[in-house]
Amino acid sequence: MTAEIRMPLRRRGRPRELSRDTIRFAPTWLSYGLMIVFFLLITLPLLWIAMTALRSPEAYAQNPVGGFEWRFSNFADAWNTANFSSYVPNSLIYTGSVVVLVVAIASAAGYGLARFRFPGRLAMMLSLVVALTVPFSSIMFSVYDVVQFFGLINTRAGIVVVAVAMTLPFATFYMRTFFLGIPDELAEAARIDGAGELTVFFRVMLPLARPGLATLAVFSGVWTWGMYIEPLLLATSDDLRTVSLGLSFFTTEFGGSNAPLICAAIVTIVAPLIVVSVLLQRRFVEGMTNGAIK
């Protein structure tokens, strides 16, 4: 206690220094100690998977935790046994289509709901709020019915359209918030100069919303890439499975017999994801903090 009381007196006149000290809630060594513990808790399981991916099934059966080899053939085997050459393009196609559609549709809707008042606007906002909280697993049987009605069961289009619809509530609110932050005077000035509504949207508002569009693209991309239950429900064909879904079926098939093979498959999928997540994390974090504050 005494130390804490004396400290601010000693540093009087240097408010910035004070703030840095007053938001320090643990000694540096303790903070680092805890951070390193959490760091290891996250990384060790992944490292174990990577280590196992390089071992032979026989060596693994003898001792799952110790031992090290360089058996890269597991990766080739995993790639050839699992249908990755169809899962990876599938996930890329789903992710690409969903990102483009969500960004396009949600930016239009976000702008419309932010800047105009029209009949039915409140009802629309309300249905978006409801759609935001409803778990997919609670409406999936009826979603299946609807997708079947359109003849889209076992098609890529069916999976994409459902993923888009499930992402839109968040995406629309996110873009609406973004457009609310852009001064309306800019649009007014363009209108006074004779610009039509489409010109205002495409030439004035959208360019200003570019950071929001980028963040939204990252969010919807990450979610769609990890999508599992939608293709599980809507596609029975192995050719339509996503990476997560395909990997899970692959695990069920080979899980008991060949752990290193499964781990090689997991590494094949997870390693690029980690690289991408390091590259995108700033955008991701910005999106989360902005979205949560505004």
Partner: protein
């Protein structure tokens, strides 16, 4: 869909009401334009989300095997059945345990965020690593941990044998009593990083001079945390708790890849139990009744948070 789909949207509903009122004052502006812009999104959401809610309610009043052309109307019988169903009751309890896992994530995430607040050297590395599970998504996280918890020859069972830790060696994922706790623990691993980032965002909005004032008044570390930081972060903690609850209600992917609700029905949550009822037991009526209960809980939460947002603004 991940849990964070709510983070921005819930807030955006709160802060923007006064500004939205101003939006109507524009000159030379056709208000119908707004309708045109909003229509594609609304149509998709109405057809693929809102209508299915109604459809689920309708389905829950029938007896249907998923194949036959006839759906017999049975009134509220399905609801009476599931309320009396022991597995359903246990699923509710397990879903609460699972939500508890998310709450642990909230507390841990907040604590880590407080420690990262001073931005110690290298903090971006920690933040990046903590976010990896979020980037992998729940299904991949489940598959990673399934390798570790695998009863037959998983990594943790072997580690438990080697180090003589009976809890690990006994393969709790395969035991009816232990499996749900393993899943909840895995969920903590999966979601803590997300809450670190949300809480960091909240802390950034807090004015540090409040803490300086408290320090000048003689408040120690614990007192500053207890009487300044936590009270000012209350809206954020409420938001995080709400996100955790909804995410726990939505939980499916991670549980499904790890146990498919087994062993037996020992890890059925509401979502997985509904799925099992429908697709393993061809009982869409009861499955939809369970789904309706989930919808009701979700809607109740929307109402509660909606009211809080109105009060906040």
């Amino acid at each position: 869909m991940s849990s964070h789909s709510l983070a921005g949207a819930v807030r955006s509903g709160a802060g923007s009401a006064p500004r939205a009122r101003k939006a109507g004052k524009g000159v030379h502006r056709s208000q119908i334009t707004g309708l045109v812009f909003a229509t594609p999104a609304i149509v998709l959401v109405a057809v693929f989300v809102i209508y299915p809610i109604v459809g689920t309610v309708a389905l829950s009043l029938t007896d249907w095997d998923g194949f036959s052309p006839t759906r017999t109307f049975v009134g509220l019988q399905n609801f009476a059945d599931i309320l009396a169903d022991g597995t359903f009751q246990a699923s509710v309890v397990r879903n609460l345990i699972y939500i508890g896992g998310f709450f642990v994530s909230v507390v841990l995430g907040f604590a880590i965020a407080v420690l990262l607040w001073v931005r110690p050297r290298g903090w971006v590395v920690f933040r990046t690593v903590f976010l990896i599970p979020e980037m992998l998504g729940p299904a991949i996280v489940g598959l990673v941990w399934l390798r570790l918890w695998q009863p037959a020859n998983g990594g943790l069972a072997a580690l438990g044998d080697a180090l003589h830790i009976p809890v690990l060696a006994s393969s709790p994922l395969a035991s009816p009593g232990g499996a749900i706790w393993v899943l909840a623990l895995t969920q903590v691993w999966a979601s803590t990083g997300f809450f670190v980032v949300v809480a960091l965002g909240g802390l950034q909005s807090l004015d540090p001079s409040l803490l300086d004032a408290a320090a000048v008044d003689g408040a120690g570390r614990w007192q500053r945390l207890r009487y300044v930081v936590i009270p000012s972060m209350r809206p954020f903690l409420a938001l995080m708790t709400m996100l955790a609850t909804i995410a726990g209600l939505k939980a499916f992917d991670l549980v499904w890849v790890m146990t498919q609700g087994g062993p037996g029905n020992a890890t059925q949550l509401l979502g997985t139990y509904a799925y099992t009822k429908a697709f393993s037991q061809s009982d869409f009526g009861h499955a939809s009744a369970i789904a309706c209960v989930m919808v009701l809980i979700a809607l109740a939460f929307t109402l509660l948070t909606g009211r809080r947002n109105v009060r906040d603004s």
